[in-house]
Subunit: 230 residues, 2 copies
């Protein structure tokens, strides 16, 4: 298998939360993958997927894009070590995904966007600034003007998962599954590009993140990024 994986200036600094979902999911299933560093402006490289965003997974002759569709594809094609326990868990994980992408992405973007912008490849900078400033209706500098306030908002927004993580080790219960990888993508995104401290060590979410960093032979901990205690 091959996967196109968003990289920063350095080939081995991989920061996409969507790509992290899939790298963790592949490791969860014990599937090997070759990840290919990709930049926002490398649209040609993934044209065969019929769209212009990563992750894109190539499995033999099959090309799948969109992290949610890739997760579903993986559970169908490789049912051992499922990412979803069944249809109800998958439906609730889908709601969870949209919660993460609204309640958490908004503050995390405000917290890390300037660190991220400093880290991405030179050839991506004009594209990134233009597309994000259009999306947010503000300059990157305005979006990122109050990272401390954004981190406070992020911690507050974590409440629903914090309540679960005082009861059980993972979002999905005793064992991690795709909803954990969805949430964890947010933290790997930040860790790859920003030295800021997102969580206090006494936060139950901090202990969960430690467990996630240790999973699958330390796949995420060994990836290039800032120490989480910084």
């Amino acid at each position: 298998m091959k996967m196109w994986d968003l990289a920063a200036a350095e080939d081995d600094r991989r920061f996409s939360p969507y790509c992290w979902r899939i790298k963790m999911a592949l490791a969860h299933k014990g599937l090997e993958v070759e990840t290919i560093p990709w930049r926002f402006t490398d649209k040609e490289a993934i044209a065969a997927s019929g769209q212009d965003k990563v992750p894109v997974l190539q499995d033999g002759q099959v090309i799948v894009h969109d992290s949610w569709e890739i997760a579903r594809y993986l559970d169908e094609k490789y049912p051992a070590q499922p990412l979803f326990e069944g249809a109800q868990a998958r439906s609730l994980a889908y709601v969870f995904k949209f919660w993460v992408e609204t309640a958490l992405y908004q503050p995390i973007v405000r917290a890390i966007i300037l660190d991220l912008f400093a880290t991405i490849h030179e050839k991506d900078k004009a594209y990134y600034r233009e597309s994000r400033e259009k999306r947010f209706g503000r300059t990157l500098e305005e979006v990122g003007a109050d990272p401390k306030g954004a981190i406070q908002a992020f911690r507050t927004a974590l409440l629903p998962v914090r309540q679960q993580l005082v009861q059980q080790p993972f979002v999905c219960g005793a064992k991690p599954a795709f909803a954990d990888y969805i949430l964890f993508g947010v933290f790997q995104w930040a860790r790859a590009v920003s030295p800021q401290r997102l969580l206090e060590p006494d936060d139950p979410v901090f202990a969960w993140r430690e467990r996630m960093l240790d999973l699958h032979g330390g796949l995420a901990r060994n990836a290039k990024g800032y120490p989480v205690w910084a």
Copy 2:
């Protein structure tokens, strides 16, 4: 089975979102229950549960309180027609519950609190005002000062479930289960006490609510409350 169920001035106006979760869950399992109208100040009546909030369920010699604990109890004692597909679905439903109780309760309380206060039993009014004003740090009138703004915030906050409900008929997928009842409790709470229009008819959440109102022989639709098209 018996269940103590929060009532307004009228015995048959039942508005607790937590009690609605359990009435729907019992109907889901085809279990009969006698519901006993209860008011906030009837602490004595449920003293055997060791605490002072409803729902309280009595099943033979067993007394269970807290809607989440009751749902777990029901799935354990009466496993047919499960409320949770398995441990992963239950964990994700638990996260969902805290999302509902933070992201949705806050705007819905601001939208309906004055209607609710007008509806509750005279003997509860002093208790309700004092306990809620202490909790919110504001008068009821201040909390409820902008119901239109609160309804807008409520609609916006529904985004994660709306994304699911454009794909599938229920929060839990093809069939309703406990997470649906958790969300639906919010709407029955409002419908019991307030004539305000919470949803526009073209909202996918509106169509879901219609399906929920029809479930189990129209249990919720036939309960005393305001028409949802008001």
